[in-house]
């Protein structure tokens, strides 16, 4: 079986950052793939499938992280996770509330 190693830079888009709910979504998605998936912030390297690990990054909006996947489905894994991050974690209710309250101010 072929193994691929894919690396992508991702930037946290949502205003609330990578808190428990997005971390949960990210971890669940990462778990669906065979590849070993890690997120790197500066010198910190964490397992993408562990919510607790992801939370240690304390990644607020605008934070750049490096996503690394290694395995047979590395490309699919990276594509899916990038989509999740770049869409700002839809279904993060804290995010939805935040946007709604900003809408009210207009």
């Amino acid at each position: 079986m072929q193994t691929f190693r894919i690396t992508r830079v991702i930037v946290i888009q949502n205003s609330q950052g990578l808190h428990a709910r997005p971390a949960d979504m990210f971890a669940r998605l990462a778990k669906q793939f065979q590849s070993r998936i890690e997120l790197v912030r500066d010198t910190q390297r964490v397992e993408a499938s562990s919510i607790m690990d992801l939370l240690t990054l304390g990644a607020a909006k605008g934070t750049s992280l490096v996503l690394e996947a290694e395995g047979p489905d590395a490309q699919e894994a990276v594509d899916a996770l990038v989509r999740l991050v770049e869409s700002g974690f839809p279904n993060d209710e804290a995010e939805v509330e935040e946007q709604a309250s900003q809408g009210d101010e207009r």
């Binding site: 950052g17 607790m52 304390g58 209710e93 309250s101």
Partner: protein
């Protein structure tokens, strides 16, 4: 953000009797009322908000830890408490394990950064097995507080 910046020492509870998720959350919120960190008139709406958040997805983050939380307009500064359950509580965690260490967080509506930093601190410290073990073995709130202070002072490498 250190534990001492947001954990209310007087609200810490060890030897929780409650063993169901809602009862545990209620007990922890009650301890914050008793410590005069939240108003009793806000208690019910805070508890409802925390429970509603749990419905979206368990805050059991693995390794026997849960971080139930909510924002609330009555709060102007992030406040939290710790509870230890010896027998464990079913929190429907992703890893399927019972939860023994609970950190309840209530934050003001407009400061996501503080909440995120608190989660960062909690998760970093609790990655250390020794710290987790000592916390779980704590019998008195003072012991928990001491451990939190030691963690703040980098006694537990993470």
């Amino acid at each position: 953000m250190k534990f001492s910046d947001f954990i209310c020492k007087d609200a810490i509870r060890t030897q929780l009797e409650a063993d169901q998720k809602e009862a545990v959350i209620r007990a922890m919120a009650t301890s914050l009322v008793e410590a005069k960190k939240i108003n009793s008139k806000d208690y019910e709406s805070i508890v409802e908000a925390i429970l509603k958040r749990e419905e979206l997805g368990s805050t059991g983050i693995g390794r026997g830890v849960a971080v139930p939380h909510t924002k609330h307009p009555s709060i102007d500064k992030l406040i939290g408490t710790v509870a230890i359950s010896q027998d464990g509580v079913n929190f429907e965690s992703l890893d399927g394990e019972k939860v023994h260490l609970l950190f309840l967080l209530v934050s003001p509506p407009d400061r996501p950064g503080d909440h995120l930093r608190a989660l960062e601190n909690i998760s970093r410290q609790l990655r250390d097995d020794t710290f987790c073990r000592f916390l779980k073995q704590s019998r008195k709130p003072d012991e928990v507080w001491q451990l939190l202070e030691e963690a703040d002072n980098h006694q537990f490498p993470s």
